[in-house]
């Protein structure tokens, strides 16, 4: 099963290596990994996507929690959370496909961020499904290369049902 693990860590050198190292040591693969400073410059948030059965994920989460410099670990899979990823895609174009690519960009609400005589670069934000659909549509039109940020995620505010 796919798991999104959100980890709040001290913004210090070596922390990322320690977290990534645990995956190497256990032979697990990281699907995507995103790290950046949070609202507090002393902390970083790390969003990591991996697959594995419940037991393995439980072990990974416990190991992360044991690490010094790790403030909080949350497995967001199954939680109500916001998921976003950014993609930049370059598509080679010719006379025939040029307008079709722009139409696709329009449908997906992607932005054109670079224009050349032989290609377009498009930028799109969305969840995993949306980005994958986007890639599949572009592929036959001349998809040349892509760069993805990997998933970032944040828990939604808890909805409270209260009696009035």
């Amino acid at each position: 099963m796919r798991h999104i693990i959100s980890i709040l860590v001290d913004n210090e050198p070596g922390v990322l290596a320690r977290i990534a190292g645990l995956f190497t040591a256990r032979g697990f693969n990281i699907e995507s990994l995103c790290v950046a400073e949070t609202e507090k410059p002393s902390l970083s948030r790390l969003t990591l996507v991996t697959s594995g059965d419940e037991w393995i994920i439980d072990q990974i989460v416990k190991r992360f929690e044991n690490m010094i410099n790790v403030i909080k670990v949350e497995d967001l899979s199954g939680e109500d959370s916001l998921e976003r990823e950014l993609i930049i895609a370059r598509i080679s174009t010719n006379q025939k496909t040029r307008s079709e690519v722009l139409r696709v960009a329009d449908i997906f609400r992607a932005n054109v961020v670079d224009v050349g005589p032989k290609s377009y670069a498009l930028e799109l934000t969305g969840n995993k499904e949306k980005l994958e659909a986007f890639i599949e549509i572009l592929r036959p039109l001349g998809l040349k290369e892509i760069s993805r940020t990997g998933l970032i995620s944040l828990k939604r505010e808890k909805k409270k049902i209260t009696e009035r």
Partner: protein, 578 residues
């Protein structure tokens, strides 16, 4: 104050007694500083033969005292040689700190990026590691390192200190460490968990305590003794737990594991409640077939490290907390008016007694060659179980666990997790420094001993009163045993075609030494050796065909044991020895 002076001053103020270090680390500059500024302090440097030796010495010191063992070495191969020591200590939760200090006077070596990445290398062998980049951070980093190594589940820390930090100047401070970011130390357990455990205990008919090294680290012996005696619960120990519960207590049921007692393994297998305290259900203590472990039992798992819970065995009642605190919490939760059912308990203890009568742990001397089990049983009786016994790894280690009746915690020092051969002798040197008033015995096999015997120079130089019992069977005995049992006696690479004269080796270092090869001389020779001052090597030539029994059959359950050479060896895949 210069960084290098801050370094030593901080360690001195932390109450460090010994700095274990290889000879090349204390260059002229450092040595002069040490003798000028720290000659009057209690801090003493112990120079080892090599860095692995230094790390095991620090480890032995740490395990016998509970205080952190300190290793200081240079940034070259000195550092890489400590990796085995780091992992050995870390797996057995011994507090140890290795400082990689760039002492070298050669300025060309000052750029850390040209050198070995010690932080990278040590990442998976330490609890945590630091690269100290600013002299202003130095005393805080040192204090944090010592704090982290000794608290929670103790472990190893490596600190890499570049030359420019040691050479820079700043004002000396001694900051208080109350909290390290992202570091949690579980103490008390949640009351729901305690209530659940208490209920399980009160409802059980055949409970057993499965005690590990955590009892010793948490100093829970007395609390556990009271708890077990009040609730009439038998207590068995893992290899690392030995010494954590008195051998003569009426509740004590020997020890468990691959070579544990028949009746203790049977008791765990047939219990209806396993109360594990400070143990991690390693494959060597459970037989390795985790899904068949104690099939009729519920399991309460008390551990300070949440990552050990549900790792090997799925438990019914996990409790994260300090062993002693949790025992007291559960004890409080069970009302004083509660009495376990007398009939149930009588039947349970009688059953365990019956198993013991079926296969008691008794050492017998047969034949003209000395049996190791007999020799160790004898040394246990002579020292009344009160010596600090440091072992190496192999058959002799298992016989020590079987026959040495450890009376006190922190007296059995062995590499249980990693099984580091060559650990025993240097660790015994550290143990003797930590516990100068106790009898310290290094019991080593000839295979293990040869892996670190250069440390004679350190032992003799420091005029330690250290006794070495060298069990010489001319073989890697445990390898031979496995090849006998599981590899059709296909003996390969286990016999020493050339075994040196250990008596001469010891004497050449200035130690006293003699050889014992007759069972009749054993008692007299041991007594003589123990009463001789200084470093004494007693080489005991033993029967190499003796094997360690009982033995859990690999792939079997805990009630499935080989009890003697006559037992048929089960069919099935060849087990994994490592």
């Amino acid at each position: 104050m210069k960084g290098i002076e801050i370094f030593f001053k901080t360690l001195e103020k932390e109450g460090v007694e010994y700095i274990f270090s290889p000879p090349n680390s204390f260059g002229k500059k450092v040595d002069k500083l040490f003798s000028d500024k720290f000659s009057k302090s209690k801090m003493k440097k112990i120079i080892s033969g090599n860095e692995q030796g230094a790390s095991h010495m620090a480890d032995g010191y740490a395990r016998t005292t509970g205080k952190p063992g300190i290793v200081v070495c240079d940034s070259d191969t000195s550092g890489t040689n400590t990796i085995t020591g780091l992992q050995t200590a870390n797996m057995d939760s011994a507090p140890m700190v290795v400082f990689i200090c760039h002492f070298s006077e050669n300025e060309n070596l000052s750029n850390i990026f040209d050198q070995i990445d010690h932080i990278g290398i040590s990442r998976s062998t330490t609890k945590h590691n630091f690269l100290c980049e600013k002299v202003e951070d130095l005393s805080r980093v040192l204090r944090e390192a010592l704090y982290l190594s000794t608290t929670g589940r103790p472990g190893t820390i490596l600190v890499d200190i570049p030359k420019q930090v040691l050479d820079s100047e700043t004002k000396f401070t001694f900051p208080t460490i109350k909290k390290v970011s992202g570091y949690k130390i579980p103490k008390e357990a949640k009351s729901v968990d305690i209530k659940k455990a208490a209920k399980l205990i009160m409802n059980s008919k055949r409970p057993i305590v499965f005690g590990g090294g955590g009892i010793i680290i948490s100093e829970a012996t007395e609390a556990l003794r009271k708890f077990a005696n009040r609730l009439k619960i038998p207590v068995t120990l893992t290899l690392m737990g030995l010494g954590g519960y008195p051998p003569d207590d009426p509740m004590r049921v020997s020890w468990i594991g691959m070579h544990g007692s028949y009746f203790a393994n049977m008791a765990v297998h047939n219990s209806d409640l396993v109360i594990s305290i400070g143990a991690r259900f390693d494959d060597r203590s459970t037989g390795g077939v985790f899904e068949k472990f104690a099939p009729n039992a519920k399991v309460i798992h008390i551990d300070i490290d949440p990552s050990t819970i549900n790792k090997n065995i799925v438990v019914h009642c996990p409790i994260v907390g300090d062993a002693k605190t949790v025992i007291n919490q559960i004890s409080k939760e069970i009302p004083m008016s509660f009495k376990p059912n007398t009939e149930d308990r009588l039947a349970w203890f009688n059953q365990i007694k019956d198993w013991e009568n079926e296969n008691p742990t008794v050492a017998r001397q047969k034949g003209k060659m000395i049996k190791t089990s007999y020799a160790i049983d004898l040394i246990s009786k002579i020292t009344k179980g009160k010596a600090v016994v440091v072992t190496d790894v192999g058959q002799h280690q298992m016989w020590v666990a079987q026959y040495y009746q450890f009376a006190n915690p922190r007296n059995q020092i062995t590499s249980g997790g990693l099984g580091t051969m060559g650990f025993g002798f240097p660790a015994a040197i550290g143990a003797k420094l930590g516990r100068p008033n106790d009898t310290v015995l290094a019991i080593c096999g000839d295979g293990s001993f040869q892996m670190n015997m250069q440390e004679f120079s350190t032992a003799v130089e420091n005029q330690l009163d250290l006794k070495i019992i060298l069990i010489n069977n001319g073989h890697h005995g445990m390898v031979r045993q496995w090849q006998t049992l599981f590899f059709d006696k296909n003996y390969s690479c286990c016999k020493f075609d050339l075994n040196p004269d250990y008596v001469k080796i010891a004497q050449s270092y200035g130690a006293k030494a003699f050889k014992i090869d007759s069972p009749n001389d054993l008692e007299g020779s041991f007594k003589e050796g123990l009463s001789t001052k200084g470093v004494v090597l007693m080489e005991v030539v033993v029967d190499h065909t003796e094997m360690v029994y009982p033995m859990l059959t690999p792939g079997g359950t805990m009630d499935d044991m080989l009890l003697s050479p006559d037992d048929p060896i089960p069919d099935g895949p060849v087990p994994d020895m490592s």
